[in-house]
């Protein structure tokens, strides 16, 4: 795995008429990571995505993709792929014909492009539609075909803009599993509104708002998985004072309306993950001994909560 990031955007600016879409966006996507790009509508996610793919020209700034300066389809041929948002596929062309053409265009032989085309159609659950014209496909199927073309070959960097938008829950789940399985050292950049999905899938995320990255980093660090524990109690005893006494140095708070016991670990705790597990063990022992009824437990905060805090 390369030490340098798979994708780096440095001080990237882009304006559309009177709208300043990006304002000095800086983003680093670590090589080999599954990276989530998160932001509200109009935050600049798709613009950043499109600049990285070479569809849009930045007004200012530098883009480096797989150690290549700027988008260069010749030097990046076969090394990166993308699923652009809202890009149509020829209506009269059959699914496999599209994939054969795209595969050949990214450097595969005709035979290999056909073979891989069939394989990716199978992966996205469209093998029975290989000879169907795209005009006969539903919205979700078109989405899956667009994902299939991004999985052709062995790209080191795969960029997917809202990949599960329009997919039914089963296919969305299957796609997440497919992406997890197809990782194999490659870098996946996923832009999505579905924060639960990104939290489950991505090891790194960046929040974009008003054309800049407002927060970013490892998902565990952002969601404070090693620094905070929330314990949900059902009606009954709530011995939070006993928990606080058992965990000196950590900050224990009790929220009566939601019945959430929140423990923020001491900042100086070394080996944070281990400490979180120890804290959970202590807290649960105290709570169970006191007859508390535990309805749930969560390490850290949700990506959604973090996102709402940051944007």
């Amino acid at each position: 795995m390369s030490a340098s990031p798979a994708l780096r955007l440095t001080d990237v600016w882009k304006r559309f008429g009177s709208t300043q879409a990006l304002r000095g966006l800086a983003l680093e996507v670590p090589a080999g990571s599954i990276f989530g790009l998160i932001g509200p509508n109009g935050a600049g996610k798709t613009t950043a995505f499109s600049i990285a793919c070479g569809f849009l020209r930045p007004d200012r700034g530098q883009v480096t993709i797989l150690d290549v300066s700027g988008f260069d389809p010749v030097r990046l041929k076969g090394r990166m792929s993308a699923m652009p948002q809202d890009a149509a596929l020829g209506r009269e062309t059959r699914c496999l014909e599209h994939l054969r053409f795209f595969g050949q265009l990214q450097g595969l032989s005709a035979r290999e492009a056909a073979r891989q085309g069939e394989a990716v159609l199978d992966q996205v659950g469209l093998s029975d539609r290989r000879d169907h014209k795209t005009k006969t496909l539903s919205h979700g199927m078109l989405r899956r075909l667009a994902i299939a073309q991004a999985l052709l070959g062995s790209p080191e960097l795969v960029m997917l803009d809202e990949p599960t938008s329009g997919l039914d829950p089963r296919h969305a789940h299957e796609l997440r599993e497919l992406l997890r399985q197809s990782r194999q050292g490659r870098t996946l950049l996923i832009s999505s509104h579905n924060l639960a999905e990104l939290e489950a899938l991505c090891d790194h995320v960046a929040f974009i708002d008003h054309g800049v990255v407002v927060a970013g980093g490892a998902t565990d660090a952002l969601t404070q998985k090693g620094q905070q524990v929330e314990i949900y109690l059902a009606t009954g005893p709530a011995p939070y004072a006993a928990v606080a006494a058992a965990l000196p140095g950590d900050v224990v708070t009790w929220d009566e309306p939601t019945r959430v016991l929140r423990i923020v670990l001491a900042a100086d705790a070394a080996a944070v993950a281990r400490a979180a597990e120890d804290v959970i063990a202590v807290a649960l022992r105290v709570l169970l001994d006191a007859g508390a009824r535990i309805s749930g437990l969560r390490r850290g905060t949700s990506l959604e909560k973090k996102f709402l805090e940051m944007t």
């Binding site: 930045p58 700034g61 300066s69 010749v74 652009p84 596929l89 265009l105």
Partner: protein, 320 residues
């Protein structure tokens, strides 16, 4: 501005090979798309229909003239036309008629040596083929920019290979349908005429086909310009046809003696206009012995390149 970072030089030969391969792939896909979207069927219908209609119309016209002449002279009329026309062509009066009409003895020699139906084909093909191209080829890129379908290709190849592939695909389509049109013309003429000159007509049509194709190239270039200059298929069609009408009017003014006047500078400018509009090169291609054939051929090629390059300069910098 994107700062440049030194990247290792790639193998130039491999790059060239990749570029040619991509261009050919895009051209092949364009042909397939034309077939799938029935554009090719429409073009074949238009060109074959025009060929058939042209030959039949010419036969009908000749038939009408021959019948009227027979009525006047009291000569017997043939079941199928062409006999009288052939006899006329073999006489000196046909040459004189052409010389009067063309006001050029050498041109009259050239055209009198060919079967009249070949001359008619050349005239019709050179007149109408460009307009069919301007109408059908204008949206080849603009529609893909509008639907963003271009993004799938732009990820995988250079915009130049993509645009050249599209232009090559259109050129192959024009070559194919114009050849088919000539073939249809030949077959229909064969069926319609009484005394059909098989060999001379075939050779004549065969000699016109590459010239029609050559004359079509600047129009393919102009259509590609319109297609790359806009991101709307309708706008591209309007620019393609409207621009060509403007060029035709300019050329018409440039060759019109009263408009040109007598000024040396203004005449030089009008001459320049005729060089820069494709319509100014039709006569040179239709009449190779005239001396302007090579110049017009070169200028047609150059105009095709210039129009394409002007469009590509826009596409190269365009947000997709």
């Amino acid at each position: 501005m994107i700062d440049s970072v030194a990247t290792p030089p790639a193998n130039a030969q491999a790059l060239r090979r990749g570029f040619v391969r991509d261009t050919a792939l895009v051209a092949r896909f364009e042909l397939g798309e034309a077939l799938r979207t029935r554009l090719l069927v429409v073009m074949m219908f238009l060109f074959v229909g025009a060929g058939a209609l042209g030959a039949w119309g010419f036969a009908e016209m000749v038939s009408g003239i021959e019948q009227r002449a027979a009525q006047v002279t009291g000569a017997p009329t043939a079941r199928r036309p062409g006999g009288a026309l052939r006899r006329l062509r073999q006489s000196r009066s046909y040459h004189d008629l052409l010389a009067t009409f063309l006001r050029d003895e050498q041109k009259a020699d050239y055209y009198a040596a060919q079967p009249p139906i070949v001359v008619f084909f050349g005239w019709a093909a050179l007149l109408f083929t460009p307009w069919l191209i301007l109408f059908t080829a204008a949206d080849t890129i603009s529609s893909e920019v509008a639907s963003r379908a271009i993004r799938y290709a732009a990820l995988r190849t250079t915009r130049l290979a993509y645009a050249l592939g599209k232009a090559l695909g259109q050129t192959v389509i024009v070559a194919g349908v114009s050849a088919l049109s000539a073939l249809t013309f030949y077959v229909v003429a064969w069926l319609c005429f009484d005394t059909f000159e098989y060999g001379a007509t075939a050779m004549g049509l065969l000699s016109y086909w590459p010239r029609v194709l050559l004359y079509s190239l600047p129009f393919v270039g102009w259509s590609m310009f319109a297609s790359m200059a806009t991101s709307s298929a309708n706008l591209a069609r309007i620019l393609s046809l409207g621009g060509a009408v403007a060029l035709a009017i300019l050329n018409g003014l440039a060759v019109n003696a009263p408009v040109r006047g007598t000024g040396v500078v203004s005449n030089a400018l009008w001459d320049l206009v005729t060089y820069l509009t494709p319509f100014g090169h039709r006569d040179g291609l239709a009449y190779p012995p005239g001396g302007a054939f090579l110049t017009d051929m070169a200028l047609c090629l150059a105009l095709a390149v210039v129009y394409f390059a002007a469009g590509f300069a826009i596409l190269r910098r365009r947000d997709l």
